[in-house]
Each structure stands twice: as C-alpha cells, then as structure tokens.
C-alpha cells in the first residue's frame, strides 16, 4: 500500500515539474491566460494529492487505533461497542506493568520481613554462644564451682534446644526468601509481552509518521523539530546501556573519582 502511495506522490511531483516547464514556456511566449490555466491545474493537482494523502493518513491512523483497540468514544459509537470493559492493548499493558510494580514491591517487602525476623535470631544465638563460651573456657581451666557447673549443664541443654529451634526458623525464613524470588520469572514474562507491544506500536508510529510526512510535503507545512532533552534537575532514572554513554558514570568508583577531582 505504501509503495502505491509513494508512486502517487511521485506522480504529483512530475506533474509539478512538467507544469513548471509548461508555465515558463507559456510566459515566455506571452500566453498569460494559458499560464494562469497551468497554475490552476497545478493547484488542482495539489489539492487532489493532498486529499489523497490525508485520506491515506486517516486510514493508517484508523488501522492503528483498531489494532491497538484504543478506547475511542467515536469508534465505540460507530461500531456500537458498549463493552468498555474490554479495554485496549495499551490499557492492558499499563495494567501489566502495574502488576510488575506490585509483584516486585511485595517480593522486596516479604524478603525484608524475613531479614528483619532473622537478624534478632542470629544476634541472640551469637550472644548466647559467647556467654557459654566464656564459662566453657572456665570449665576447661577447672575454674568453676560445683553450683556453676550444674548451672552450665542446664544452660548448655537450653542452648542446644534454642539452637535447634533457631536453625529451623532461619531455615524457614531462607526458604521463604528463595521462593519470593519467583517474582522474577512472572514479571519477566509480563515485561517481555509489554516489550513486544511497544515494538509493535513503534513500528506503526513510524509508518504513520512517514504517511504524515507526505501530507506535510504537499501542504508545505514545516514542523520545528523540538529536541528537548530531559532536564537534569528532574532526574533521568537508572541509566541503561551506561557503557554507550560517556556522560554517564558506571559505578561508585567513577563517581568518587569525579568528586575527588572536584576537590571532594
């Protein structure tokens, strides 16, 4: 379809070229009424091509909207669709990404819950072991009274029981942390699908831009290309493909080097 449109545009260009030669010839020989007629013909050809291209743009836009099932009031009225629930692929993608945010946040929080509940257990084991170790050394040096010895006897028994229980707790917590990492699989799948959609959307947008470009060339509209860089102050978020961008530092060491070169 696009090659057909391109040939139409080519047709218009050759009409303009031929018309220009014709116009010059007519002016040279003093045939002004003929010249005006050529101008009129050129203007008509321009209008015709313009309408063709706008029509083509509208069709492409319509196709793109239909393909992505974007909710459009106009389209729903026309096709009699009342089921707003269906949603568009874009809305769907947005929902999917929200799901990723929820999943990652929940996994991070659960993991931190497990860490929070494990740290005191490990600390308690450590402090009890240190206390026992002190008295154990005194036992080795035969420095304990019989009462202290009986006491140590009981404490070791309690410690062994506590160690057993603690190991079970830590083991369970570690297992929970392990299972929580399953989010990576699920979110990975979701992101892969959203990625496909984005590539698809980009492809179609590029097509739309090329069709719109033909309308611009006939109508003589020129767009000021705004190449606005995102403001540093607002932040850019994590840098992807850092190695490709010399303006982005790769790690803490590079940041430290830069800061120390600034006298930090």
């Amino acid at each position: 379809m696009s090659s057909e449109n391109e040939s139409k545009l080519g047709e218009f260009e050759s009409v303009v070229k031929d018309g220009a030669v014709d116009l010059l010839n007519k002016i040279e020989v003093g045939d002004f009424s003929g010249a005006i007629k050529v101008i009129q013909e050129l203007s008509d050809a321009r209008h015709k091509s313009f309408y063709n291209e706008v029509g083509c743009l509208t069709r492409s836009l319509h196709d793109a909207i239909r393909d992505f099932q974007i909710d459009s009031v106009d389209m729903m009225v026309k096709s009699g669709v009342s089921d707003v629930e269906a949603g568009s692929r874009i809305t769907d993608a947005s929902d999917r990404l929200n799901y990723v945010i929820e999943m990652t946040s929940s996994a991070a929080n659960k993991t931190m819950d497990m860490v929070d509940s494990s740290v005191p257990v490990a600390s308690e084991l450590q402090s009890q072991a240190r206390e026992l170790h002190k008295d154990w050394n005194r036992l080795i040096q035969r420095d304990l009274t019989p009462q202290e010895f009986r006491d140590l006897y009981k404490r070791i028994d309690a410690f062994l029981k506590y160690t057993d229980e603690s190991a079970t707790t830590l083991h369970n917590n570690l297992n929970t942390i392990l299972l929580e990492q399953g989010y990576q699989d699920l979110t990975g799948q979701v992101i892969t699908r959203v990625n496909e959609l984005i590539r698809d959307v980009e492809e179609r947008l590029v097509h739309l831009v090329s069709v719109a470009g033909r309308v611009d060339s006939i109508s003589g509209i020129e767009h000021e290309s705004e190449n606005k860089e995102r403001d540093d102050d607002r932040g850019h978020g994590p840098a992807i493909n850092k190695n490709d961008n010399p303006e982005v530092l790769n790690n803490q060491d590079e940041v430290d080097d830069l800061l120390s070169s600034l006298g930090f």
Partner: protein
Amino acid sequence: MKILIVDDFSTMRRIIKNLLRDLGFTNTVEADDGTTALPILQTGTIDFLVTDWNMPGMTGIELLRAVRADEKLKTIPVLMVTAEAKRDQIIAAAQAGVNGYVVKPFTAVALKEKIEKIFERIDSAK
C-alpha cells in the same frame, strides 16, 4: 542523631533504614519527596539528610538547594543516594553542596564508608 530518609519508593527507604540501623543509627524518619521532607526538616530536629534524586513533586537536588538556601538548615549534612549517574548531575550536586554521593545499586559497605567519611569531616571541622 536523627536521620531523615527521603525516597519515593518505600522499599528503598526500608533498605536504607535497615542499613543505618546496622550502623547504629536507630532514630530515623521518612519522607517520600522534597515537598514532604522540607516541613520535617524545618522542625529543626533533623541532624542528617539522606535523599534520593528522582522523585515526583520536589526532587532531591531541589531539596538540597532549598536546604542550603535556608539559614537554619544550611549546615545539615546531605548524602545523596540515587540512580542518577550523569557527570553533569554529580557536578551539579557537588556545586549545590552535597556532602556525599552514592549511586544505586549500592552496597552496605559503600553507604557505610560515605556516612563515616561525612562524620569524620564534620568532627575534624569542629
């Protein structure tokens, strides 16, 4: 020593809070961007500010500038913990008077090192 942690993601606030607790700083408060952080700072009870850069509302760099521009707050040490790693941004943060800059993802060691360095410098300046 009361520390204000500013980050729009609660997970990151929690990570920083836990790491600070391991370093012995148990008195922390949280805010989710500069706009909510400033009123907390203005109560005059905060001794140390740890902030992200990229946040909705008021960003970390704007917060840093606001702190440095405020006669009562300007001496508070500020540590930036952020994913922003553009050369110009780090220079801008340094010019705005940041005391330390940690890029995400970071390690507990890196955070500890920067915090200790900041306190060392404050102590030696006394």
